[in-house]
């Protein structure tokens, strides 16, 4: 799975925002805000990833145990799925 095309991640002073462009702006009439870990995962998902790979990357980057990281990644993926932001047609599905 990976993030669909058409979303720009930008860092502001104290947060991250994702802005849809092109067709994505029509599909999602809103914006996405991310904290640091959310932005980290978003960047990972710009290439095809599995949940396991995301958990591993999160644990390697942040001071968090595998159990907590797994829960957070799964919740994160759910939010992305709910808003149809994931391209599940690529390799590395959940």
């Amino acid at each position: 799975m990976k993030i669909k095309e058409g979303y720009l991640l930008r860092e502001l002073a104290d947060t991250y925002v994702v802005v849809p462009v092109g067709q994505a702006a029509v599909d999602l009439r809103g914006m996405i805000t991310l904290n640091g870990t959310g932005a980290f995962l978003w960047k990972q998902l710009q290439t095809s990833q599995t949940v396991e790979a995301l958990v591993k990357a999160l644990v390697a980057e942040y001071d968090v145990d595998i159990s907590r990281a797994t829960t957070d990644v799964e919740n994160y993926i759910e939010v992305l799925k709910t808003h149809q932001l994931l391209d599940d047609t690529v390799e590395g599905t959940v």
Partner: protein, 288 residues
């Protein structure tokens, strides 16, 4: 740990977005009621079809830049040609006799091309009112429809008769050596208060209607959303859209951004004026 908030705030896009949402067309009154004397419309059959790479296309129209500030739009029923001058003070609009004389299309194409021209040349268009104080300090009031741009502009001009208005509809911010300048455009529903043609942009105020009058410094996220919400983003054109997003981020880094929640009550104008004084955006002491 909260990782993502999706669609925290729905953005109602204005301007270019209307090309995608025909149901909003009725929001636009005819061109002739929305522009001032700086725009001319002429019917001619002497427009040369463009042969360059289209700058953009949408539905029945593609458009090319044929020279600096000159655009030709190919419509299935004929051709439009638009000429802008450098400070957007003069717009000439030519159209084939075969085209329907639909004012709304003219308005949209002028708006589209003006914004594309701005984005390609270091600028971006905003839905807002451009105010000029002391002929040297420009303040841009931005807000979605109904947030009080015109109300506050009227209130401020009553407080400070020397204040001039660049535009009350589409204001172009252009990056220059000394920061950003804001330019009024002919898409402003002009009257005799409109002058001069540009002013240095010293501050942006994001307007919202609220239960109290409150002038404040928004968080960077609020500021970004406020600008994005009122910027003209050609959402169907990825490259220009990316440029718009980056330009908004640059304006946010360069220009002080403020928020003003207001009731549109009788004191709102005075509160805003005093706040602008306090922030050094206009000369102090005029309001007694």
């Amino acid at each position: 740990m909260l990782l993502a908030t999706v669609a925290e705030r729905t953005v109602e896009l204005v301007g270019c977005d209307t090309m995608l949402h025909a149901e909003k067309f009725e929001q636009f009154v005819p061109l002739t009621d929305r522009v001032d004397q700086r725009i001319t419309v002429e019917t001619t059959d002497r427009i040369t079809p463009p042969d360059g790479k289209p700058l953009g296309s949408h539905r029945m129209t593609t458009w090319c830049e044929v020279a600096s500030g000159q655009y030709v739009l190919s419509h299935t029923q004929g051709l439009f040609q638009l000429h802008f001058n450098d400070d957007f003070s003069d717009v000439r609009f030519f159209m084939s006799p075969t085209l329907p004389k639909a004012d709304i299309l003219q308005y949209l194409y002028v708006s589209q091309c003006m914004n594309a021209h701005a984005l390609a040349n270091g600028g971006i268009g905003f839905h807002g009112a451009g105010l000029c104080f002391d002929e040297q300090s420009g303040v841009l009031l931005v807000g979605t429809s109904g947030t009080g741009k015109s109300t506050l502009t009227t209130a401020l001009s009553a407080i400070d008769p020397t204040m001039t208005v660049l535009c009350e509809e589409t204001v172009i911010g252009m990056k220059k050596d000394d920061g950003y300048r804001m330019y009024g455009t002919p898409l402003c529903g002009g009257n005799d208060r409109f002058s001069p043609r540009f002013a240095p942009l010293r501050g942006v105020v994001i307007l919202r209607r609220g239960d109290t009058d409150r002038f404040f410094t928004p968080s960077s996220k609020e500021a970004f959303f406020g600008l994005l919400e009122t910027a003209q983003r050609p959402v169907y054109h990825r490259e220009l859209c990316e440029t718009a997003v980056d330009r908004i981020a640059d304006i946010q880094k360069t220009i002080p951004i403020y928020g003003f929640d207001h009731t549109a009550g009788p004191n709102a104008g005075t509160i805003l004026y005093r706040a602008l004084e306090r922030e050094g955006l206009l000369q102090k002491g005029r309001l007694t």
